[in-house]
Symmetry: C2
Subunit: 128 residues, 2 copies
DNA sequence: CTTGACCTTCCAGTGACTAGAACCCTTATC
DNA sequence: GATAAGGGTTCTAGTCACTGGAAGGTCAAG
């Protein structure tokens, strides 16, 4: 399977798959012409990576999760620990963004949004 | 006022202030010894930038907002438009993170987190 | 005169790709 | 056999907003 087929099968751009090879997340073999060859197993790994990335896991977490997936003697507690830490980070980001949203919503509501120069948004930025 | 005083007065790291000069967000003068000199006005501008960054505005938005702040003939609608677009981006991010949180919370709850290898988290990553 | 705290510039790295250039290989058609 | 389209390859550089570190100049105190 060539790279564009692997891309179609996983939803990942070909460029991203090449990048994953560069950082040793995946090791496709090479054909006589130098083209990358992806096995069904590797396509499965790529789908795993795509899903993990979609859940927001960083590349190093993905590497760990992939290794755990391959390891039949893994402990589910190791997987859970990675997921739990990631969840905490997500919750922190949500909290930060939610605070921004509250402030912005408030300021936008207060701003007339007309031709005049007076603006509560700028006042807020200038003062606090 | 030297850079470390400006940093202390604004909460921004000195490195960040140098970076802001490099990208022409601020233009401190220089003393005879080559040190950057910050006026009270410039410290005020830096605080404005710090606050805008804290609300998540990107650097180019900050540049625009700073220019609008300096412009006495501005229309508040221009400020509001920038803030509104930014708010929409924040809401998109919150939505994406909230979806991740829901999935992760569900999976973490389902995972025993013990010494055994069976793990709903890996199952989810492998299948979907 | 030395020490230590400041300041300067410049280079490189972060995360996870992405764009683009320059070039090679395969397949189909004429 | 020529050619053109549509693969594939590598390499460099750019993204965003800093951040770390090295090498070296400046200043105030003792």
């Amino acid at each position: 399977m060539n790279i564009s087929d692997a891309a179609a099968a996983t939803g990942l751009p070909a460029k991203t798959i090449r990048y994953y090879e560069e950082i040793d997340l995946i090791r496709p073999t090479r054909g006589a012409n130098g083209y990358r060859q992806f096995s069904d197993t590797q396509v499965h790994q790529l789908r795993f990576l795509a899903r993990a990335r979609a859940l927001g896991f960083g590349i190093e977490d993905c590497r760990s999760l992939l290794a755990l997936w391959q390891d039949r003697d893994r402990a589910s507690s190791d997987v859970r620990a990675i997921a739990q830490e990631h969840l905490t980070e997500i919750e922190d980001k949500i909290a930060a963004l939610t605070a921004m949203r509250a402030t912005l919503t408030h300021l936008i509501t207060a701003c007339a949004g007309n031709d005049r120069p007076d603006c509560p948004i700028l006042q807020d930025l200038a003062q606090e």
